[in-house]
Symmetry: C2
C-alpha cells in the first residue's frame, strides 16, 4: 500500500465526456490528519452531478483539470487515530476516485452494522444512501405523494428514479415511468411496480402521456429538465406538484434551458419545488428507519450497475452520462 | 330605465388594446330569470385578466367580438323575485360592462352592511374583494410571508400589488416595490410602507435588486411574468417562495414566455406556486374578517383610479393595459 492510484480530470469535456478526458496516475499515500483516519475505497459511487462539478456549476464542489475526481465512497478504515473509527470498519466518505483517502474524523460516517449484513455495503451509496434519500425526500417529503396520485418518473431504472418509483407505488400511487430502452421499460414494469413505461428513444412522450394520464399528472419528479420538463408540464393535473431535482438534459451542455411557461403553472395551480439532498442530511436516520425494513422485507430492491476496478471508472462514468447504465452506477475497487 | 347601455368588443386587439376595439350600444333590458334579480351597476371593476378573456385563454370565460365585455360589478338590486335580495340592496355580481344585468339569485352576493358604511362600496371590487383576496391568498396563505422576509412586489401601486405590499409590511416583511413612474414610486414608499421602490422605466432592475436585496429575495409575487420573472429569479435567497399570479408581460401578446431555468430554482431550493383566486372563494369571509379591522383602523388603504360613466370604460381599460392607471381601476356608473 505504498502508492495511491487516482483518476484525474485531464481536460474539461465539451458535451458528453469521453474516457480520454481522464487519466490514471500514481501518487503518494495521502497524509492522515491528527485524530483522523486513512481509508481504502471499496466502492465508488458514480453520479450525473459529477458532470456538473466538472462544469464548475455544482454547489458541492468543482473539479478542475489536473485534480482528482470527487465522489462518495464506501471505504474501509485502514489506519486510525480516532477511537470511534477503528481500523477494519466500513465508513461512508467523500473518498473521490482513488484507492486511498485521508479524512478528519468528523468527515466520515461509520456505516451502521445493520447496513452491512444482510445488505451489500455498496447499497450505502444507493438505496441506503444519497440516491435513496433523494428519492424519499422528493416524493414523500416534498411532493407528499399519496394514494391515487398519477406520478411521472423519468430515468425510472436509474438510481433515484427506481427508488422513487418503488416508494410511490408503496404509497398507493400509480407510476408512469420513462426509460431509454425496451429492456429498461420491461424491468420497470416487471420489477419496480411501474404501471406503464414509455421508451423515450422510440415513443412520442407527449402523445403517450395523453393516453396514459388522461386526468393529468399529479406528481412529476424532474431528474432531467430540458424539453421533457416542458412536455410533462403540458400534461399536469390541477394542484400538481413538480419536484426539480436533476438536469440530465443540460449537464453535458453549457447553456441552461428555460423552465415551463408560468401561465401553465398558474392554470394548474401547480407547486414546483427545488430539491437539494444535502438539506435532508439531518433526516438521514429517519429515512433509513423507513427504508431498511422495506429492503429487509424484499418490498423494494436496488439494481446496481457495478464495474470492476478504479481504471473502469472513466468509461463507466461516460456510459452513465450517455444514459447507458442500467441501475445505480458503482465501481468496485 | 327602458334601455340597457353596453360596451361590446367589436374587434380583437392585436397587442395593447385601443378604445376603437370597443363600442357602446343600446340593447333591451335583460330578462330577469324567475326567482332572480335585475341589477343596476354602480361600479365596474377593470382588471388585466380581461385582456386574457379577449384572447380566449382565461379560465373564467371568453369574450368574442360582438359580445358584451365581462366584469365584476357592485350593483343595486332594482327588481327582485328573491326575498333574500330585496330591491335597494347592494350586491357583488358579474354584471359586465353594462348598465343593467339580470341574475339567478345564487349568482349574486349581498354586500355585508359593514362593507358599505364606513367603506365606499367600490372597495368591494378591490381591497374588500377579489384583488385584496388575491393579495392575501398569495402572500399570507401561499408564500406564508413572515417577519424579516425580503419581498419583491411589482406593479406595487396596482390593485393586487398595493394590497400585497401592505399585508407583507404588516407581517414584518421588508418590501421592495417596482412601479412605472417616480410618482408611483413615491406613493409606494410614502403611503404603502414599501422600503424602496424601483422605477422600471428608468432604472436597471437587476442592478437595483443586487443593491437592495444583497441577501436575496425571500418572496416574489409575480404579477408580470416575462423577463422580470427571470430577473427576479436571478436574485433569490435560499428557500425562497415565488407566487405566480399574473402575466401582465404577455397579456397583450400571443406568445407565452418561458419560466426561469430549473437549475436556478434547484440551487435556491425555491418553491414556485400558481395562484388562482377562485380557489380561495370559500375563504373570502375569513379574509374579510382579517381585512375589515385593518381597513377600519386605517392600517391599510386602497387607492382607486375611478373613471366616470360607462362610456369611459374602454379608454380606462386601455390605460390599465398600458400600465398608466394609478390605483385600482374602477368605473363609476
Amino acid at each position: 500500500m505504498s502508492k495511491n492510484r487516482q483518476i484525474v480530470l485531464v481536460k474539461k469535456p465539451e458535451g458528453v465526456p469521453t474516457p480520454d478526458n481522464f487519466e490514471l496516475r500514481q501518487a503518494p499515500l495521502p497524509e492522515m490528519p491528527a485524530g483522523g483516519v486513512l481509508c481504502r475505497a471499496r466502492f465508488l459511487s458514480l453520479d450525473p452531478y459529477m458532470r456538473s462539478q466538472i462544469a464548475g456549476r455544482h454547489p458541492s464542489g468543482t473539479v478542475a483539470p489536473g485534480e482528482v475526481m470527487l465522489g462518495e465512497t464506501v471505504s474501509e478504515v485502514v489506519r486510525s487515530d480516532a477511537p470511534e473509527l477503528p481500523a477494519g470498519r466500513l465508513v461512508r466518505c467523500m473518498g473521490g476516485w482513488q484507492g486511498y483517502s485521508a479524512h478528519a474524523a468528523g468527515e466520515v460516517q461509520l456505516l451502521d452494522e445493520e447496513i452491512t449484513p444482510p445488505c451489500h455495503p455498496s447499497l450505502a451509496l444507493s438505496i441506503l444512501g444519497m440516491t435513496g434519500l433523494t428519492a424519499w425526500a422528493g416524493m414523500v417529503w416534498q411532493a407528499e405523494v399519496r394514494e391515487g396520485d398519477c406520478v411521472l418518473i423519468p430515468a425510472v431504472t436509474g438510481a433515484v428514479g427506481s427508488a422513487a418509483a418503488q416508494f410511490c407505488t408503496l404509497h398507493g400511487a400509480r407510476v408512469i415511468g420513462i426509460a431509454g430502452s425496451p429492456e429498461k421499460c420491461r424491468f420497470a414494469t416487471e420489477s419496480l411496480g411501474v404501471a406503464a413505461c414509455i421508451d423515450r428513444r422510440s415513443e412520442d412522450i407527449g402523445a403517450r402521456l395523453g393516453e396514459l394520464c388522461p386526468a393529468g399528472i399529479d406528481v412529476y419528479f424532474d431528474l432531467i429538465g430540458g424539453s421533457l420538463l416542458q412536455t410533462a408540464c403540458s400534461h399536469l393535473a390541477n394542484h400538481s406538484r413538480i419536484v426539480l431535482c436533476g438536469l440530465m438534459a443540460e449537464y453535458n451542455r453549457p447553456e441552461r434551458d428555460p423552465g415551463p411557461p408560468p401561465g401553465l403553472l398558474i392554470a394548474k395551480r401547480a407547486v414546483v419545488s427545488g430539491l437539494v439532498v444535502y438539506d435532508y442530511e439531518p433526516r438521514r436516520q429517519e429515512y433509513l428507519g423507513r427504508c431498511l425494513p422495506l429492503l429487509g422485507d424484499g418490498k423494494i430492491r436496488q439494481r446496481e450497475d457495478i464495474s470492476q476496478g478504479l481504471e473502469s471508472a472513466p468509461e463507466a462514468f461516460c456510459r452513465l452520462m450517455r444514459g447507458e447504465n442500467f441501475g445505480k452506477a458503482v465501481v468496485a475497487l
